[in-house]
Symmetry: C2
Subunit: 229 residues, 2 copies
Amino acid sequence: MAPLSPTARTTLGRLAEKGRTDRAELHALLDTALVAHVGLDAGGYPLVLPTAFAVDLDGPDRDGTLYIHGSTAARWINAARGAKVCVTVTEVDGLVAARSGFESSMNYRTAVVLGEARVVEDADERQHALDLMVDHMVPGRAATIRRPTRKELAATQVLAVPLHEASLKVRQGGPDDEDDDVADNPWGGHIPLYRIAGAPVGDEGSRGPVPDDVRRRAEQLGASVEADS
Amino acid sequence: MAPLSPTARTTLGRLAEKGRTDRAELHALLDTALVAHVGLDAGGYPLVLPTAFAVDLDGPDRDGTLYIHGSTAARWINAARGAKVCVTVTEVDGLVAARSGFESSMNYRTAVVLGEARVVEDADERQHALDLMVDHMVPGRAATIRRPTRKELAATQVLAVPLHEASLKVRQGGPDDEDDDVADNPWGGHIPLYRIAGAPVGDEGSRGPVPDDVRRRAEQLGASVEADS
């Protein structure tokens, strides 16, 4: 497995001390995060849109494959077909309350993946990618829901980006204040931020208990779920 | 004030029913969210990076001004100077556990702002923008910390994007399942997601209580803060 970052484009310049070269950390972030921001050239101007994603470390690309998908009617995904894209995944972990504006910051983890978005044509790879995306949101759910119809599959585009050319940047902890500022101002620190889930909410057609896959996911994200809710 | 979206580029195509045209909703999202993803052409390929931001609704642009900043040494912000950029701000509000993969989704709010990034040269506008960015993270904090030095200001670039050409897309609630799927599968719904704060953590140079600005911000984000912590 190649170390991060194999090219000049993904070798961090500034704040390189925040760069990480451990692919396991990249994979952990991509496993935790829910949304990717995909950037592309929309025809003379850059466009950035949020989208669901999933990673297959055993995918066809050497260092794993990142999948995104969208409607065949969506302009952005048609612009992304076969094009250079940037897929950026960020988790915000805290607010850094420094003693100067210059050192004020946020704690975060950010992965930047650059590559060409390959249109996934193979039916098995497409279905696997779609299942991975459902399971990325609610692990195990792909096996519990209705299989896609031909019409649904025809309306869905799946794109694959190799997980090869990637960088990971992480900031954590308190501020990097100057000694003089610490002497002058008695407090600097950070506010940790977390994502938590509330209890699952059934729609108006729901009857019976929250299914196990949904309950487990909500609990994993910190929700308290009544057994009979 | 112009309604959203004034141009064809920001007029939503697909899922237009999720589009909003109320600028107050856009402003509320930009007020809540902490991070923007900025997309630009990095020289033949798109690049998307997360960054802090702030909005000045009374800024020099007709519908308000969105500010971002970065180090004068950062490659991305030099590529953004005077260039077309896309600033996308997303909050994830839930996981939608549908009865099919096709209807599986997330709840979210996304603002997409397109425009040219103007380099802010005026000293007063620069300082105001930097204060807004500090206060966006911790309201009131800009007034409580050390003012920037000349050296710090020289190392910081501030860019302004007009809040004119913008779109807002919102998804909320449960799945849009087909009637047949609801009949076949007794449960569909969503898992609400929230961001919450933990108690502020002072750095090793801290002595004395958490200052009011930091305590209020943590409490506003759901933290329980001891008066003497």
